[in-house]
Symmetry: C2
């Protein structure tokens, strides 16, 4: 049995090497005219009402496994959207009625954001399935209040990118400095000086140079790096304890 008052919606971010992408579901909505075969194509975030016996994170994971085939996804609570009128347009109410086959008056939705490495297996799932990757910058509108949820996702992603090494959840395990810079530029929406960026990255002890280079590229193959998560976590603990680097807003 579903709980008619609470849903989850997931902002699933991915990165293709140059652009920040988000996973959207396309659906056809009947238009207000005599011909029922005429559908208006709309897009929404993946989501679901929660089941009576599951918690929110289980509901979000259930939604994401179906769409991506991945069971071990980086997933965090983003924000709760609870405006009593967030679903009030007649076409939105009708869609919910038709989809869940229960009367729904008000739905509070808990938004999650997920970070996914867009590799072959994920691409297979999302190109063949009901959901598709879209460039975040190209998204003009979404159904319900999902554009607002997407923008909140982008805001929180930017903040956390500044304070935690979550960039590496989006990159391939072995990456070039160019790819890392592209990722920061795409998420923060700024241009970064190449030399400064390279210098900064080379100074981070937990970003390790590998004995490998890119393969199959037209340009001169660049060196590959990996992120040493275990080392990062050890360092952070040490810093908390000894270095007193914690008034970070003094940077």
């Amino acid at each position: 049995m579903v709980n008619p008052s609470i849903s989850v919606d997931c902002v699933v971010f991915g990165f293709d090497g140059s652009e920040l992408k988000v996973l959207l579901i396309e659906f056809g909505r009947k238009m207000n005219n005599a011909d029922p075969s005429q559908l208006k194509l709309e897009r929404k975030l993946p989501g679901s009402l929660i089941q009576e016996k599951e918690d929110l994170s289980a509901a979000a994971q259930r939604t994401l496994v179906e769409l991506t085939g991945l069971t071990n996804i980086f997933l965090r609570q983003l924000y709760v959207f609870s405006d009593p009128n967030r679903i009030s347009r007649p076409e939105d109410l009708e869609w919910i009625k038709n989809t869940y086959e229960i009367p729904v008056s008000r739905i509070v939705t808990v938004a999650y954001f997920a970070l996914v490495k867009i590799d072959k297996s994920v691409l297979q799932h999302t190109v063949e399935g009901v959901s598709k990757w879209h460039g975040v910058q190209s998204i003009k509108q979404l159904a319900f209040d999902h554009k607002q949820i997407l923008m909140k996702g982008l805001e929180v992603l930017s903040q956390q990118l500044l304070n935690e090494p979550i960039a590496f959840e989006l990159l391939p395990k072995r990456f070039t400095i160019r790819q890392l810079q592209n990722l920061y530029e795409a998420i923060l929406g700024i241009e970064i000086d190449n030399r400064n960026f390279r210098k900064k990255v080379l100074n981070v002890p937990c970003i390790k140079l590998l004995d490998e280079k890119e393969k199959g590229v037209a340009h001169k193959p660049a060196r590959l790096y990996r992120f040493d998560k275990a080392m990062y976590e050890k360092d952070i603990k040490k810093k908390m304890k000894y270095n007193l680097n914690f008034i970070r807003f003094t940077d």
Copy 2:
């Protein structure tokens, strides 16, 4: 009309100059014996079911105005607690039934955390009212899953203290460096070297020395400082744009 599925609970933090405090509500619960006058004293976080026509933040603010008399409180979403069995003990279910006079099967609660300056007017409210300040370290147990919510509040407060100048929401407008250090030590649960701390703070341009000293203290009066929020916000924007200090985990 209340919505029986969703509640808010508020972790209200305050600081008295040496200890981190949290605002708790005390209530008596009937004990399982023949004498109904025997009550067991329990403590919980302030909270409420949401009304049909209000969003979550309005519900949290409503709860806090009643308890503190303050209308302009620093308030953020903390986390959603949605375990289907989070309220399952018979005495908890009975308390909810008696309090709200409606049948309730499962409540998802959205936790907020608030930061409050414990000044005279707040103290008057909370000493005379139903809620009281308790030292966070002294809290052994709370009703429902509220201890878990409090611990999450403490975790998020620590994280945000490292990345944002939220310390000043808890301090008086004019404060000593000693007070600021006490606050960091109380929240992070660590001891900090006095000299290092002082040096770091004096290097922060948006912490301004005032032409005033403490009054009415037994020891040698210390100098007073204030936090220049407008300057901080200008600086942060500039840094984002030019200084590329954003891979902060390299600190």
